[in-house]
């Protein structure tokens, strides 16, 4: 109890108001409360308590009877001793209290109201109850948290398969499976589309050569008007057919490869297309392996088609070339170039064959070019007059496609001593030709035979000059030689 009292003491000052607002209604005091109030805390109970109403302000703002006790003191000072019955010292000093005022003035206890019931025990019990409640709430919160976490873990984790036997796959597994099925469906569609595109491109490929042939006839200066007219019609028909198929191919290539699947991480359209392109190639490879395993000796055409489709799917540059072409507004020349480009970039077998053919050297033409250049120096070359007239005679040729080098061994014969000049002219002719370059003839030697002719062995090494390459020596030497050729008849005259 002592502790409680102490606690009560501790609490009381904090709970005790300094002054109650005057507007508070006066509360009737319960007798028990009044009895328990200490005297110091209940000033209204004391008879000597000064009337606090004397300190109140009236409505005019002036103190009400604020100096009444001084007036009383001055007027009654002389009669104070014999007039003891009139009251005690306070009464004499301050005058008698107005009974009306006494009955209406609220006491402090009335102003403060009932003493609040504050008990340390109650507080402790209340705190204990709050703690218990908090404990139970904590337990519930933790339980709820665990329950929520467990529930969502079991639902949203594809590896949580513990309840799968009883409740089936959770939503995450269903989600993954659904996405996988969606991707597979899209990949299957991509395969079918790319196989369609491949067939259409094969069809286009088969028409490129006939089309280019007609274009060549139309642009040629060596055909009759009727031939040109027929070629123009065929060119237009073939061109329209090819364009129609290419537009179809464009539609296939322009369609997005990927499909938007729900995912936690954001995916850009480019990333999506790259992913689906990889899936396409992978699926085609798997299909090819299945075909190979099922029919290793057969289904050659089918596996070849798959090979071509795989290469097509991997050839993004080729796809872009076709996709970015404006076929509708393309003129004949541009269209012809596009077809050449399609042929060059195509990774199908026919295009590959055509590319090898295009790069292949035609050695018979090279031999003819050598003859043509030689005949400019010796117009009787190869006609069987070497022994009698002299000139140039080749005994052997050697061509190497890898290095583009040509080696020729032979002999020259001149009736005068200007054998080296004769050989020099041959060298210059070869160098000046647009077909050859880099002639190598490091040494000259000659001998005089029994008939007085000068002969010299010849070992020429030079290179093929690519058609699109220009050698500065070509023009200069050719022009010089042309000048020499044109000047010679004049000097002779």
């Amino acid at each position: 109890m002592a502790e409680n009292t102490d606690k009560n003491k501790n609490i009381l000052p904090a709970a005790q108001p300094v002054a109650a607002p005057p507007a508070l209604p006066a509360q009737p005091m319960v007798p028990e409360q009044a009895a328990s109030q200490p005297a110091a805390q209940s000033p209204s109970a004391s008879p000597q308590e000064p009337d606090d109403s004397s300190y109140k302000l009236d409505t005019s703002g002036q103190p009400k009877e604020s100096f009444g006790f001084l007036k009383n003191l001055l007027s009654k000072k002389s009669a104070a001793a014999g007039d003891a019955d009139d009251g005690n010292a306070f009464t004499k000093l301050f005058g008698k209290q107005d009974p009306a005022m006494r009955s209406t003035a609220p006491s402090l206890s009335k102003v403060l109201g009932p003493q609040p019931k504050i008990s340390a025990t109650d507080m402790f019990d209340k705190e204990k109850r709050r703690r218990a409640l908090a404990g139970r709430a904590f337990g519930f919160a933790v339980f709820a948290a665990l329950a929520v976490y467990t529930f969502f873990y079991l639902q949203l984790n594809p590896n949580a398969t513990i309840l799968q036997k009883h409740f089936g796959p959770n939503i995450a597994i269903q989600f993954d499976a659904s996405n996988a099925r969606l991707e597979k469906a899209k990949t299957d569609l991509n395969i079918a589309n790319y196989m369609r595109a491949r067939v259409l491109l094969d069809d286009v490929n088969s028409k490129i050569d006939p089309y280019q042939k007609q274009v060549a006839i139309v642009t040629s200066d060596f055909v009759t008007d009727s031939e040109r007219a027929i070629a123009e019609v065929q060119e237009q028909e073939l061109g329209a057919e090819i364009k129609k198929k290419l537009v179809h191919v464009q539609d296939i290539f322009k369609a997005p490869l990927g499909i938007d699947t729900f995912s936690v991480e954001p995916v850009t359209p480019m990333q999506r297309d790259q992913k689906f392109q990889a899936l396409l190639v992978q699926a085609l490879g798997e299909r090819k392996q299945q075909l190979h395993a099922a029919a290793p000796e057969g289904e050659v055409v089918e596996t070849n088609a798959l090979d071509n489709v795989i290469r097509l799917a991997e050839n993004q540059y080729f796809i872009n070339t076709i996709t970015n072409s404006n076929l509708e507004e393309m003129e004949t020349k541009a269209f012809s170039e596009l077809l050449e480009n399609i042929r060059a970039q195509g990774t199908d077998e026919h295009s590959a064959v055509q590319n090898i053919i295009k790069q292949r050297l035609r050695w018979s033409e090279v031999i003819r070019d050598v003859h043509a250049v030689t005949e400019k120096v010796d117009d009787l070359y190869g006609l069987g007059f070497f022994d009698t007239v002299g000139g140039i005679q080749y005994n052997s040729y050697s061509f190497d496609a890898q290095t583009g080098k040509i080696s020729i061994r032979g002999t020259t014969k001149t009736s005068d001593s200007k054998t080296f000049s004769f050989i020099s002219e041959l060298v210059e002719r070869i160098e000046g030709s647009r077909k050859f370059k880099n002639v190598d003839l490091p040494s000259f030697s000659k001998s005089k035979d029994e008939e007085g002719d000068y002969t010299s062995s010849l070992s020429l090494v030079f290179e093929l000059q690519p058609a699109d390459e220009r050698d500065p020596r070509d023009d200069r030497l050719t022009e010089d030689l042309e000048v020499i050729e044109s000047a010679q008849p004049e000097s002779a005259q």
């Binding site: 908090a134 949203l156 099925r181 067939v199 499909i259 053919i357 292949r360 005994n395």
Partner: protein, 210 residues
């Protein structure tokens, strides 16, 4: 005076902790619920999209089969020629027969040609087109000038759809004239020549798979 506030604050603190846990749980639950609902919606949505894709796939596959059948029908000759131009394997024996047939076809009395030997190298895929392999071949031949030129033409026209012969390419050629110098206008002049060439074929499926 010190014990009382802390005494009171403890329960408040506990309630605060509970509130925080509860708040986190609710927030976590709402977020996960939204994810779960999104997944459910996605699954339902995917089903309809899958059905649509499968329908498109059936249409595309039917279209492909029609196109392929049409292409095969119209280009049967093309496909057969491609099989000859680019056979599915090295085909040494077929190649040997091809040369024998060619030389036998142009060999005439007074305008002869004779293949003295035929050597095959090691086949290998091309670097830039590994779906096509190359088989090196070399041979020594003696024949008339006109037959020599026919041989060059035969190689140079190989691989085209018009010729329908296997794709070949001369890599090097050396020829000389036995009886002195070259006679351009004499088709019967004897020419001895040795050639090194490449023949092509589709890279073996087994090799490609490996």
């Amino acid at each position: 005076m010190r014990n009382t506030p802390s005494f009171i604050n403890k329960s408040n603190f506990y309630f605060l902790v509970v509130l925080v846990i509860f708040g986190i749980t609710v927030a976590y639950g709402i977020m996960q619920y939204q994810v779960m609902m999104a997944m459910k919606v996605a699954v339902e949505d995917n089903e309809s999209r899958i059905a649509q894709l499968q329908e498109e796939f059936r249409t595309a596959e039917d279209d492909y089969r029609t196109l392929a059948a049409d292409f095969t029908e119209r280009h049967e000759d093309f496909l057969k020629k491609m099989e000859k131009i680019l056979p599915p394997d090295a085909g040494y024996t077929d190649l040997a027969r091809l040369f024998d047939n060619f030389f036998a076809g142009i060999n005439r009395p007074g305008n002869e040609i004779e293949q003295n030997n035929l050597v095959f190298g090691q086949p290998q895929p091309l670097e830039d087109m590994n779906h096509i392999s190359v088989l090196p071949v070399s041979m020594n031949i003696k024949g008339s000038r006109s037959n020599f030129l026919k041989f060059l033409e035969f190689i140079e026209n190989s691989g085209t759809l018009e010729s329908g012969t296997r794709l070949m390419e001369l890599k090097s050629i050396t020829f000389n004239f036995e009886d002195g110098g070259e006679l351009v206008k004499d088709p019967t002049q004897d020419v001895t020549f040795s050639v090194r060439m490449n023949t092509y074929f589709r890279t073996s499926k087994v090799a490609a798979l490996n």
